[in-house]
């Protein structure tokens, strides 16, 4: 940054670094006056985002999402469960978000991060309430067997906007999910139908011949924005999150319907107009993310 402007002396660069550490707020505000952020982005732009599907071979569905440096690995494992009496033809989804100590210097083993359960809860609320996945799709034999989908999301590198990246990786993992073909054996247990010895006569008819891919309705995507004075900063990095503490997360589905809006306190208050600005930014972001997801899916189909 500073090195590019002049090769003249090291001292100006040192001062800049010291200024950044000693007065982080004024350092950022000086940038905001010029409508730019320390990493060179305009205020409303999110970082470069990439997705790759099928990163984990031992899972039924998986995806790796990267937003800038923030990296999330989501994987789904399917297991069989007995449905509850209240909902005999519905499966279940269990969502867990983990922050292992590798992802940030602030997390030590044995002392889990406070934000992890919060994000975990937010993710399950968003995914289960948005109607993206019809739990009836996970049913195998009504009243007897259904899929339990364990979705585990690991943060591999934490650099801000954790919820956005986690949700993106979760949605991508569901689009990659492949449901194995299974049949019901004589003991009433579900067994896999192996492809190699499909000719063996003993095996029963598969119970789910058709459902190899999970059908998804409108998918949710999110954008987190920092509200600071009159500025709105989209997709903050962790440095910005630690300095300016008021943020707002907007979740929209692909029809731009609002799924969730979350502003967990903070010293700043949000005005109606700034909330509307955030939603407008989120709409633009949803378009980008949809494009990235469909590219990732078509990339995988080519391979």
């Amino acid at each position: 940054m500073a090195a590019a402007s002049g090769t003249n002396d090291l001292s100006s660069e040192m001062e800049l670094d010291a200024f950044r550490r000693l007065f982080p707020l004024s350092f950022h505000e000086r940038h905001l006056l010029e409508s730019i952020r320390p990493d060179g982005r305009p205020l409303g732009r999110a970082r470069d985002t990439s997705l790759s599907l099928g990163a984990v071979a031992s899972a039924n569905g998986s995806a790796l999402a990267k937003i800038g440096c923030t990296t999330m690995l989501a994987a789904i494992k399917l297991e069989v469960m007995t449905p509850t009496v209240e909902a005999p033809d519905e499966g279940c989804i269990a969502i867990d978000f983990h922050m292992p100590p590798i992802c940030s210097p602030l997390i030590r083993p044995g002392r889990p991060a406070e934000v992890a359960p919060v994000i975990s809860k937010q993710l399950s609320d968003t995914i289960l309430s948005s109607g993206t996945i019809d739990l009836k799709e996970l049913c195998l034999v009504s009243g007897k067997a259904a899929w339990m989908a364990y979705l585990d999301i690991y943060c591999l590198d934490a650099d801000g906007a954790l919820f956005d990246a986690a949700l993106l990786s979760a949605v991508a993992a569901f689009s990659h999910l492949q449901i194995p073909v299974v049949s019901l054996n004589d003991d009433g247990r579900i067994v896999l139908v192996s492809e190699e010895n499909g000719g063996s006569m003993k095996e029963k008819e598969p119970v789910n011949k058709e459902k190899i891919k999970l059908k998804m309705n409108s998918q949710p995507f999110s954008l987190t924005c920092i509200l600071h004075k009159n500025y709105i900063l989209a997709d903050p990095i962790s440095e910005e999150e630690s300095i300016m503490e008021t943020y707002l997360t907007v979740v929209l589905d692909t029809n731009y319907q609002l799924v969730s809006l979350n502003k967990p306190g903070g010293p700043g208050l949000a005005s109606t107009s700034s909330i509307q600005d955030c939603i407008a930014l989120a709409q633009k972001r949803v378009k980008e993310l949809q494009q990235i997801l469909s590219e990732a899916i078509s990339d995988m189909e080519v391979d």
Binding site: A57, S58, C69, K77, V80, P101, P105, L156, D157
Partner: protein, 255 residues
Amino acid sequence: MAGKLGAAAATYSPSTGQRRKRPTIQTGSELARPDGRGLHQCRPAFLKTGAVNSASGSAYAEFGNTKVIVSVFGPRESKKAMMYSNAGRLNCNVSYTTFASPVRGQTPETKDLSSMLHKALEGAIILKSFPKTTVDVFALVLESGGSDLPVITSCASLALADAGIMLYDIVASVSVSCIGKNLLIDPVSEEEVHQDGALMITCMPSRNEVTQMTVTGEWSTTKINEAMQLCLDACSKLGKIMRSCLKEAASAPQD
């Protein structure tokens, strides 16, 4: 949270309903390995430094289906109220993702892996170079595909080098399984399940020093010698790959 929910629902993962057979190798001189490798051929290794930006140093290692990320933090203030020490401290922690193993939740005990990793690396680090402080080495196994500990150890030493921690030499680690009369280098999980004995060597290839060696199971002396030689050769090859990975990272233009 969700784990408890899962336990209450008593789920199981569907199997093919067939017993896994021991690979048919007893009599034959050449057995076929599940991935079609030769007996003395290691899996292709992919190594990359700088996988985690927020760490002081990090590395990603992929050996076949075994995928590991290691982050190094520090040297930084020792957290616990510890005695004064002129030498630095090393703190290691290994964990597994819930989807690392084929069946969810069947991950190995990580306490002993952490302590094995600590012992393997301790001898290679110049602890005197960071007195009174701690270096944290955290490993996460994304996918467990066999020979996990050797991959973790090698990856951790690469991450330490990436973090600029002073080392006597990089540490390379390779294991060998003994099945019947055969020695299989760099075994995958299926082979590890059926092994009669295992031998692992962790060494510093350019100094020709071994930092850790474990032998388990049934071995004859000649077999041990043979296996050790195999491991040491493989370690020096792996050491070269690790070195070239570090050189590549250092010569790449920094942005």
